[in-house]
Symmetry: C2
Amino acid sequence: MTEAGRPALVTVDWGTSSLRVWLLDAHGAVLGEARSNEGMQKAREMGFATVLDRVLTELSAPAGLATIVCGMAGARQGWIEAPYAEVPCTLDHIFDRAIAVPYPGRDVKIVPGLAQTSSSSPDVMRGEETQIAGAVGNLGSGRHVVCMPGTHSKWVEIENGRVTGFTSWMTGEVFNLFAVHSILSHSIGEAATGIKADDPAFAEGLRRGLDEPDRVTSLTFGIRAATLLHGLPPGAAAARLSGILIGAEIASARKRYLAESKEVILVASGRLGEVYAFALGKAGLSARLVDADEAVRAGLLHAARVNGMVPEVSA
Amino acid sequence: MTEAGRPALVTVDWGTSSLRVWLLDAHGAVLGEARSNEGMQKAREMGFATVLDRVLTELSAPAGLATIVCGMAGARQGWIEAPYAEVPCTLDHIFDRAIAVPYPGRDVKIVPGLAQTSSSSPDVMRGEETQIAGAVGNLGSGRHVVCMPGTHSKWVEIENGRVTGFTSWMTGEVFNLFAVHSILSHSIGEAATGIKADDPAFAEGLRRGLDEPDRVTSLTFGIRAATLLHGLPPGAAAARLSGILIGAEIASARKRYLAESKEVILVASGRLGEVYAFALGKAGLSARLVDADEAVRAGLLHAARVNGMVPEVSA
């Protein structure tokens, strides 16, 4: 019999540029947490095992405690490649394919990413599949649409427990490209962070992106023109850019996935969750917000159970 | 009486990153040409007059020959600001507002750019207004739609000799942003130049951009996925990216400007003209190609005539 409060599992979300590690008990309660910028890019240089060892020591994780990993650590250029599972498939099918990492004295497994191999709409994810499991695990049958905003926002369709398809929008990365590397950098300057849902310039950009998603690379030039012609301030330029890109993403995803339903499960944390919840509302959609950190921990715990790495517990 | 073959005018297209100078006779025939990378950005450091002096000496331009300039030299951060003319207006109204540059012994004037100050669709151009004059000067009355592809592609609506509205798409700049600074740089590598209309990967991207212009930041991620899942080669990745962006631009501009007509005056040179002519055809539009270099020279000659800088000649 397991005890609440006793370390039962280490869960790791190893992204491209960030590493997050939680020590959980068998019920999923958080006993310890570590975050660092030692994502895949840095860990490749330092050694994945070296980085993980140090973090586990910091967390005083008991020797031999099972460790489950999701994210870019399983990419070809990561720690060990965990080949993509392919849609359509169940979430448990993904977790069944977790790959063991040779690691003396500890059971370490990496969850695969998910691929959509159709030539008309090829797409990939690594890490989000685990968030989905945590977010929709208790929703039961029927059709669900999940929105996971970020650098490469993912919209996912789930029917009766199977992932049937998904699509990425490069919203976060495109915001950064425009704000830092394009002519809009002269309009935005250092104002590219901290955009809030209640900024009128965000709402204005959002309205335009929702109305004319096909004109996104044109609406963005309008920001530069508004600086030159109307003295648009840098903070408003950044907020308008964010609104345009998020609006275009939602309009495009709505057409693709929400012709019938208006319900979106929004998996996000903090300010990003607030901004997208506001934006989804303006698009006439109804968002149910699930915290992304909680979702990935719940998904990792489930993945560990599927792999027999922690005992089942009664609720 | 003027003579053919005798220098009558210096015409200058001074862009952000390039400078082009032609020595013309009064009929518009080219007697000499100089091109350099001393665009506005470099000329700001070196001095605009210093750069122009050297080029005119190289071309053996007669002392005191009138010089007409269009492009970014008239921007606020350029040589002397030539404040924007505002749409709707005639092309001659723009040229009437050319600004004289203090320049000992030589009549130098800079043509203003064009602004659309509406808060719903603010936009600006500098240089393209002169190309338009050269391209549509002989078309007479009626409604014309002009496409000028490039870093910031411009689509312009002209009715009975008045520019009634225009819209920019950041197609060329966005291609460069994605190819050089985004995750797609890992798919494209050094293959970002020399894309051809008859590349099947270009046609494939074009089809997708035309079909789903609202999904442009998603279709681009599909290129990365196609590299990972299907081994898409770098050259094909670059061509597909170009096709997606040009297809989305044309689909979006078609909706905005070509609901009734299918006729487009395409102002472009070389490979870019070929690529856009192919793309416009695939979009069901009919393109009449006008060489961009010829158009800007003809427009500058017309601007000089409006300003009484060269004598009228009989054809």
